[in-house]
Subunit: 461 residues, 2 copies
Amino acid sequence: MEALVPTAALEELGELVGPAGLLTTASDLARYEHAPNRLSGRAAFVVRPADTAEVAAVLDWAHRHRIRLVPQGANSGLVAAALPDGTGVLSTERLRGRFDVDVTGRTLVVSAGWNLDEINERLAADGLHLPVEVGSSPSAGGMVSTNTAGSHLIKYGDVRSRVLGLRAAVPDSAGTVLDLLRPLRKRNEGLDLKQVFIGTAGAYGVVTEAAFELAPLPASRAAAWLAVPEQHLLDVLTDLESRCGPALSAYEVVSPTAVRLLADHFPQLTHRVPDSGGFLVLVEVAAADDQADDLLTSGLEAATDRGLLTDARVGPAHHMWEVRHAIPEITERMDPVLSLDLAVPRSCIAACRADVVAQLALAYPHIEPIELGHYGDGGIHLILPLPEDIAADRDAVNALRMFVYDIVVHRHGGTFSAEHGIGPKNYDAYLRYVPEQVRMVAGALKSHFDPRDVLGSVSLR
Amino acid sequence: MEALVPTAALEELGELVGPAGLLTTASDLARYEHAPNRLSGRAAFVVRPADTAEVAAVLDWAHRHRIRLVPQGANSGLVAAALPDGTGVLSTERLRGRFDVDVTGRTLVVSAGWNLDEINERLAADGLHLPVEVGSSPSAGGMVSTNTAGSHLIKYGDVRSRVLGLRAAVPDSAGTVLDLLRPLRKRNEGLDLKQVFIGTAGAYGVVTEAAFELAPLPASRAAAWLAVPEQHLLDVLTDLESRCGPALSAYEVVSPTAVRLLADHFPQLTHRVPDSGGFLVLVEVAAADDQADDLLTSGLEAATDRGLLTDARVGPAHHMWEVRHAIPEITERMDPVLSLDLAVPRSCIAACRADVVAQLALAYPHIEPIELGHYGDGGIHLILPLPEDIAADRDAVNALRMFVYDIVVHRHGGTFSAEHGIGPKNYDAYLRYVPEQVRMVAGALKSHFDPRDVLGSVSLR
């Protein structure tokens, strides 16, 4: 594929971005070709523009030469949306020029290349944070492009609800840069065009800067692992919601299978959780005052009095999260697995998971599903360890995927992509479940912003 | 204009919606032709479809006959977006078929014709509400179409952040109904098409049903009116934000001129507010437990200790809000006035308002501005009582409008429409301040959904 990029075009690209801006050797390209969950791709080259003007110049170059580029941030995505397929990579990692905190305004305007951990490290001094918890450190641009959600959505909302503005360069014939950056909390001027760039995986343009609404850092946090009988998983949630209000910051459900894996792989962590054999729940409370412990404790006492809990272990929040983060660590080591990212209306969670588990048991008796649920927002991560015969057969894997998706989407009003977004790994599902009327508009916008279809790993048509 | 609708077409329309669905006599039309702030229009007819299928049939009729329709909900908008200009009115008031509360899911799926007060009255039994506070009772469809904001945005976000789904009928040649209604908190399937219908004043289609995320009703509320020196208006805000966290539910600033009006028109209310002669602030706290009073009191004590307040009156929340709502009542009685709806980054509020006030004093010395600010989100409602000579001259009114907008938009990074949206009253400003690149996309979407430009009072091109 590299041979498809003419040498003269590559030289021109190098002149646009300078020596540090263009990588072409196999050893330099390697780290842009691999992502979590053993995802991988192959890059023809990596271009690393250093500011918005360079991004615009690179996109103009791609447009003129009809050369495809996949935008890539921290490369922490889970659907291969940022991985090249013999194409070029446009890495946003050198977009670092801007980091403007407005403490009174409680906003941050930041270049796309800053990542979540760096951002929150710098914001801590001002008592602020960008409240996203995904167990990884995506880039600012990547969070906008995938509308990152995660474990704290229940309290803080998704990234879309925090994006006050953005700047995006698009690969049209005019080299357009859209300046939609003003960090205004209220702005109703007709079409809110920035929404088009949120959650669309870079199909329409490259987000080079974003303005986020920040949250005050909580003054206190408290967490507990609970043993909850399956039939009470939602009762405990709604009970804590009404008692703790917006202080409830996480409600993470772990299935018995996942708990057993934890005991096998991280026995040293098991004393932090109740020994129940059933479902466990990680609950976290984050308060503006120092009362998080009291609030959590009184909430748990009330739930216990109502007979909803069988056991609870309270402990420092970071200890309790280590247990939660250990589970994807385990499943990442398991190979091969199929990792699905589902959501349903939360009142349908119980019926949906029972249906999925029962139908899998009939059709795929050798697969034992592992579940992690963000029950507060209806999210279920379903991890399916694959038998050898299925793993070796691409069509069989896809059939399994659609088997589960059909149940979730058609029988329980859910989605095949709660928070991972759209990439090559679920593009078939996009075509299958997203209504044609929606895809037509997506395609019309694609033609407007990217008439030569040079940007992104999927074109959202 | 009525004569422009052929009798045969009108008869056909009557057959689509039945006798209750079509109004044509002057007395029947009158109430659809008048809105708050003395806004008025003229209707050729009013069509009132009773469900989504009838809306689609009406839009198909409008498309075929090329007859313009303005969608209208509760007709409480402030920029004339829902008023007819000799065109037909498509009233959503009979869209009442659906009211589905999911208490565990904390969601509501509701037909567009239900209004805010009705919705919250019915939800109260389940301890839930749709947390919008605008001092009027817009329809569900209207709130989506204008992305309603209001005084509680600081705690609960705008309507956009609460819309989980919607159904919309569009006037294309296929009679398309877009079903984007699933009430999912997480759904990242590429383009989030519903965003296009939020805040666009019905230019693209008629929202017939919406799914909202609800909030638990707070268990306790407490409110106070504060006397705050101008230089501390933002300090008190950030201080209370850090102490009260997400319990802080309103922070409304009233200028000294507005306070004097209150004393003149509602002397019986003045004992509820401090007698300071300066700026007053209404602050409200809403808590999940019974501690709102304590939380507010301790927050105010801390601010007093820091020397940020000069006086405070605590009282029942509904009493304190009566004072706040009295001010627009007064300004509505004043005639003529120009009412502007501005927002800036909140750290720029002080500089922006000082600039506006100073420049108005120079160029328009006879105009004394009245201000109401949602300072928590950077919003400023600026009400300008008009001298006779300006009021009588449409161009002079428009020049005054642009005089203020230029300062806010060009010098302070703000917007000419914080929450009122786009309608005939500020369409000139739309053309002046919204970048052409944005308007081009808005126009392309208009052509897609409404190729014959039959829907809405402004066409967002």
